[in-house]
C-alpha cells in the first residue's frame, strides 16, 4: 500500500515536471526555431517527441545511476549536442526578453548588431572553456 502511495506521489510530481518542461520548451520557441533550422519540413511533432524521449533519458541517467559504458566518444558527442542546446536556449531566452530589438535600437547598423552577437557567442564559449579548463592548468 505504501509503495502505491509513494508511486502515485512520484507520478504526480513527474506529471507536473513533464508539463512544466514541455511548456518551457514551447514558451521559449525552441521547437519552432529548431524546426526552421532543420532541413526537412513537417517534423515538428517528431522534434517534440525527441525532446520528450531525451527528458526520459535524462531521468534514467540522473535518478537510477545507470551507465552505458559506451566510451568517451559518445560522452563527447552527447556533451557537444548538450552544449548546442544551451546555445539555442540562450538565444531563445535573449529573444523572449527582447534583447535583440533592444540591441538593434542602440545600434541601428546591422553589421554592428551581428558583431555584438558574435562577441556574445565568443564570450559564452570562452567563459565555458575557462570554467572547465581553468582547473586543468592550475
Amino acid at each position: 500500500m505504501s509503495l502505491i502511495f509513494s508511486c502515485m506521489s512520484a507520478l504526480a510530481m513527474g506529471f507536473v515536471a513533464g508539463s512544466a518542461a514541455s511548456a518551457f520548451f514551447i514558451v521559449l520557441g525552441i521547437f519552432s526555431k529548431l524546426s526552421a533550422a532543420g532541413g526537412l519540413p513537417g517534423l515538428q511533432r517528431a522534434y517534440a517527441g525527441a525532446a520528450a524521449l531525451g527528458v526520459l533519458w535524462g531521468c534514467f541517467a540522473s535518478l537510477f545511476g545507470l551507465s552505458l559504458h559506451a566510451g568517451m566518444i559518445f560522452a563527447d558527442a552527447a556533451s557537444f549536442f548538450s552544449g548546442a542546446y544551451i546555445g539555442v536556449f540562450i538565444i531563445s531566452l535573449a529573444e523572449v526578453i527582447n534583447l535583440l530589438p533592444l540591441l538593434y535600437k542602440s545600434q541601428r547598423r546591422k553589421a554592428i548588431l551581428i558583431l555584438m552577437l558574435l562577441i556574445l557567442v565568443a564570450s559564452k564559449v570562452a567563459g565555458s572553456l575557462l570554467d572547465f579548463l581553468g582547473p586543468v592548468f592550475k
Partner: protein, 190 residues
C-alpha cells in the same frame, strides 16, 4: 450590379502560377465570374503582394458596370513555397536538430534534478509512505512515467484526429509561420 469581394490575408502555394480564384472570393459568384477568376493567373516568384485595389482593377476591367465592395483584407501575401527536395545536407541538419533536442532535453531535466536534489526528494517520499529508507526505484519509474505523461498532455502528441483543439505546440508553430509570412510580405513591399 453589386459584387462583394473578400481577399485572403495570406496564401501559400507550391506553384509559381496562382489563379485569382485561390486568393479572392466573390459574391454573387456566377458562372462567368467563376470562369474569369479561374482563368486570371498571378505569377509568384518568391512572394507576391496583391492589393485589393489591383483585384478591383482586374475585375472591373472585365466587368465594366461592376460596383465592387471589398469586405476582406486590403492586401494578400502570396508565398511561393516549393516542395523541399531531400538533400544529404538537409537530412544531416535534421539529424542534428533531433540530437540537440534529445540531449538538450536530457540535460534540462538533469539540471533540474540536480537543482532540486530530486533523488533526495524521492527518498523522502518513499520514507514518508513506506517508512525507513526504502528503495526509490519504483518511485523513480513512476516519476519518469509521470514526466512522459506530462509531455504528452501538454504537447498533445497523440491526439485523436477528431479533436480539433490546437495544442500549445500547434499555436507556437502557427505564430511562427504567421510572423515569417508577415516579415516576408513587409520585406517584399520595401
Amino acid at each position: 450590379m453589386k459584387w462583394f469581394i473578400s481577399l485572403k490575408n495570406t496564401y501559400s502555394t507550391g506553384k509559381e502560377i496562382v489563379p485569382l480564384s485561390g486568393v479572392v472570393t466573390v459574391i454573387p459568384d456566377g458562372e462567368e465570374m467563376k470562369a474569369f477568376l479561374r482563368e486570371t493567373k498571378i505569377a509568384v516568384h518568391d512572394i507576391a503582394v496583391l492589393e485589393v485595389i489591383d483585384v478591383i482593377g482586374i475585375i472591373s476591367g472585365r466587368f465594366k458596370d461592376a460596383d465592387i465592395v471589398s469586405v476582406g483584407a486590403s492586401s494578400c501575401s502570396i508565398l511561393f513555397e516549393p516542395s523541399v527536395r531531400v538533400t544529404f545536407l538537409g537530412v544531416l541538419k535534421t539529424g542534428a536538430v533531433f540530437l540537440i533536442l534529445f540531449f538538450g532535453g536530457a540535460l534540462a531535466i538533469m539540471n533540474f534534478h540536480a537543482d532540486v536534489n530530486m533523488d533526495e526528494v524521492l527518498r523522502s517520499i518513499v520514507a514518508f509512505y513506506a517508512g525507513g529508507s526504502g528503495d526509490v526505484v519504483w518511485a523513480g519509474i513512476a516519476y519518469s512515467a509521470g514526466i512522459g505523461a506530462g509531455f504528452l498532455f501538454v504537447l498533445n502528441l497523440f491526439k485523436p484526429k477528431k479533436d480539433k483543439t490546437p495544442s500549445l505546440l500547434d499555436l507556437d508553430l502557427h505564430d511562427y509561420k504567421e510572423q515569417k509570412q508577415r516579415y516576408m510580405a513587409e520585406k517584399s513591399k520595401k
